[in-house]
Symmetry: D2
Subunit: 141 residues, 4 copies
């Protein structure tokens, strides 16, 4: 199986560089062939009444986790962009940190497709599932 070309630390540094306004929001826990794990500390800004995490917060970590999994495989390509994301909200998340586990199912010449499970720390079952497609710069072909 094809190996990542960037380490977790290298992807994290690249994220901070291209998205400085979200520096520190996510922690890149690990990257592996065709997969990545991210966590996010949750604070009041992400909460909804009833102590649950907002939908856009779960969308954002799913999207970013897949981006990290792709970057780890293809290298520093800022022009990699989401084309389609389908998110199913499964369970009310807890007001605890989030963890997103991304899996690439196809890494093609122009598109990368896969899915992401989003968990609340401490819950066994996922809070959300996303199916994601990214366009990757064809220059790398």
């Amino acid at each position: 199986m094809r190996q990542p070309v960037l380490s977790a630390e290298e992807v994290a540094a690249f994220l901070d560089e291209v998205f400085p306004q979200q520096a520190g929001v996510y922690r890149v826990v690990s990257v592996a062939p065709m997969s990545a794990v991210l966590t996010q500390a949750i604070d009041d800004r992400h909460l909804r009444p009833g102590g649950t995490v907002s939908g856009p917060t779960m969308f954002a970590i799913a999207d970013c986790a897949f981006y990290v999994a792709v970057l780890a495989m293809i290298g520093r390509e800022a022009l990699t962009v989401t084309t389609t994301l389908t998110i199913n909200f499964l369970r009310k998340p807890a007001a605890t940190d989030l963890r997103a586990e991304a899996r690439i199912l196809k890494l093609g010449r122009t598109l990368a497709t896969g899915d992401v499970l989003v968990y609340s720390e401490g819950m066994a079952d996922p809070a959300a599932h996303a199916a994601v497609t990214y366009a990757v710069p064809s220059a790398r072909a």
Copy 2:
């Protein structure tokens, strides 16, 4: 055709009440039978490098516009929640205000389904398209 039971002002007031942390983020421009229009003033927090609006920002306005369209039809039901949202990113949005136009295609007893077009003000073509399903409290049946 079934008429809205809440006016734009009434939905806006309800949004501020149940999501106080996003008070003032969206403006409910209009509600009509099975549809609603929202706008959002864009500032630095929503921008990505290159002067484009972030994906989570477009997800959030699409999600909220559909919520508003549904609430206008069914009334003050805070427990109405997103179950599935598919978003297609079509064009790099401009660094200008966003407008979201939501359309309900089916308002059922337990599910409401439809779609949303998201525009950058000043652009003729949409920046994103979302297909959305919400679960509506069955109590209202």
Copy 3:
């Protein structure tokens, strides 16, 4: 607005040529800039118990209607293929002919994205809605 490069008759002839096994299944009613309309005569093979049209039948006409809309705009490109299709089933269709109305929201260099409404003839409200992305041969760029 960019005009179609193929007429309804030309797209229909091309469909019969590349998909001979489905010749006669669909009728290309019309093509227009960034849109197309297809109909399908329904017979026993497409029905489910209770006299309703099967999900795969509705998926297939939605997929084909979008293909026709794209081909009309870009010409005879058999390698145009579906990458992602999200279908929401809205209402039990009647055991009558189907009509699919496809709209292209973005016709890019490598991807075409849009949506399709599927109706049962005689019903005012749609039976299904699909959001669709096709990959188009980059050779045409």
Copy 4:
């Protein structure tokens, strides 16, 4: 973990009963807690030019595999219907038999949500991935 209430044989018999027109199309290989595996023998009717399996054929097995996984858990409920299905086509399938592996991520009171991987026999990587939501009869609550 909750156990299936129907065996593979029992689900297969129920499928033949409620969908007699597709009797023999699918083989229910196995059911397990929150999952199911189906296979389908491919013949000329399912093929596209170039010896590849059609999109609607892959849609149909994904949809049916998830239905089987849900029925195995909830019992003989013919009124269980697809509400939303997002399918990503990943690789050109071979002209060989199909196998679909369905996983339920959430089995709720009114909705069941999960995903399905579709493989061509003999290929290590999936040909398609589907995220699926079914409405389940609330009577069972």
